[in-house]
Structure formats: structure tokens, C-alpha cells
Symmetry: C2
Subunit: 137 residues, 2 copies
């Protein structure tokens, strides 16, 4: 996901190159665009969770992907990981303050989705009917 691109900022649209690899919005999209991060963040928005709890709360996620997703969120400073040296071991995951602020964004995303879901579905049905046998889906 590295590329020269234009980027919207609070007041204006600016252009930036990929020489720095960190135009900003891409950092968020990388984490928001993947298959599981948002779901994990949504679950953690409810409070502290342990590894197995998360796996049960996000049906379909593999152990491997849960681990990867958690590590990346931790690396980005969005969640914290606390190991309790018990037997068997317990590891607790929690949103950081940065992570919590992300939930507002996710909420906005969900609101927009809810609002336009019907229209998008309708548009797709019409497009699919007008373009039978298309390969873009």
C-alpha cells in the first residue's frame, strides 16, 4: 500500500510522495482495511479481553490471524498486551487511549454503512443486471 497519492487533510487536499512511506492516511487504512483489525478493535472497545475470549468473540478468525492482528495493533500503539505469569498463562489485551479514539472513527464508518447500505445494495443489483457475466466481482 505504498504509492504516491493525494491526501485529504482537515482543511485542504495536498499531494505527497511515497518517498517517506508515511503519508498518514495510509497508516490507518492499512489497519482498517485488513480483514480483522476493526472487528478486534470493536470487541476490545467493550473492555479488556484475553486471547481466547477474542477468538470466540470474532468467529472465523484463525489463531494465526488473531495473533498477527493483535501484534500489528500493538505495534501501532493501539492496544496494550499484558502477560500475567500464571499457570496456565494469561494475556490481557486492552485498547490504549489512541486505540479508543479509533473507535470513534469505526463508529462513523458503521454509521455511514448503515445509512447507505440499502442504496449500495440496490446499485449493485442494478449494475449486475445491466452487466451480466462481468468479471469485476
Amino acid at each position: 500500500m505504498s504509492v504516491r497519492h493525494t491526501e485529504v487533510t482537515s482543511g485542504s487536499v495536498v499531494t505527497c510522495g511515497d518517498e517517506h512511506e508515511d503519508c498518514g492516511i495510509r497508516e490507518v487504512l492499512d489497519r482498517i482495511g485488513d480483514k480483522w483489525s476493526v472487528l478486534v478493535v470493536v470487541e476490545l472497545a467493550q473492555g479488556m479481553r484475553r486471547f481466547r475470549q477474542l477468538q470466540r468473540a470474532v468467529p472465523g478468525i484463525s489463531q494465526r490471524m488473531l495473533t498477527l492482528t493483535l501484534r500489528r495493533l500493538e505495534r501501532d500503539g493501539l492496544i496494550s498486551r499484558t502477560v500475567r505469569p500464571t499457570v496456565p498463562p494469561q494475556v490481557e489485551y486492552e485498547l490504549t487511549s489512541t486505540g479508543h479514539s479509533l473507535t470513534h472513527l469505526v463508529r462513523a464508518l458503521a454509521d455511514w454503512s448503515a445509512e447507505h447500505r440499502a442504496a449500495i445494495g440496490q446499485a449493485r443489483r442494478e449494475w449486475d443486471e445491466a452487466n451480466p457475466g462481468s468479471s469485476i466481482r
Copy 2:
């Protein structure tokens, strides 16, 4: 990106299955998470654009990916495509009203990114230093 998952709605967190394949937020994330859609939408937020204009405005995008991105956005009802039967042919792309409403979301994304970019960068550097030779990046 199809999977059973929990979903945030305006007021509550609900669980839904993938039997219907349209939990809502996934539809947005599919388009927001891919590599080019947001960049194309941002460019179209400025006004009507033709194919070549878009390709120049989004450096790095291939002809193929621009075509695919535009088709998918069109299928979702986010942009309109108008063919003018001139020689050589001209095709105009514009945001629909649904597409325009998406730009608010993108703006929110960009704002959040700008606000937390430094913190994320810092977190990553620290994590990378604490975890040398990790394979998650």
C-alpha cells in the same frame, strides 16, 4: 472479506452472520481498504474527471487497476460514468450524492490520521526496537 463478525451500529454492538454477506460495514471497508478507491474518490471530490486525468492524478495506478477501481465504485453507486460519443471518445466520471457523502468519512479518516500519525510512528519505532527481527512487518 466475508466472515461472521460483530458490527458497531449507531447505538449498540450487534452480532451478525455472514449468511447474508452484507453486514454493512464490510461493504464500506471493502472499498475503503483497497489500494486505490480512496485516492480516486479524493480526486473526484474536486469535480468531474476523465480517465486519463484520473490516471495522472493518482500516480502509480496502472490502467488496469484504475479501470477495476472505477468499475467497482460505479457498481456500488458511488460514481457515475458518462460516455460522450466523440472522436476520440471521452468518458467522464463524477461522484454521485452517495459518493460525495463518502468524502466526509474519508475526511474523518484523514483527520484521525493526521492527529495520531506521530504517535503511531513513535509506537512503531519503539516496538521495532524492542522486537528486532520480527516477521509481522
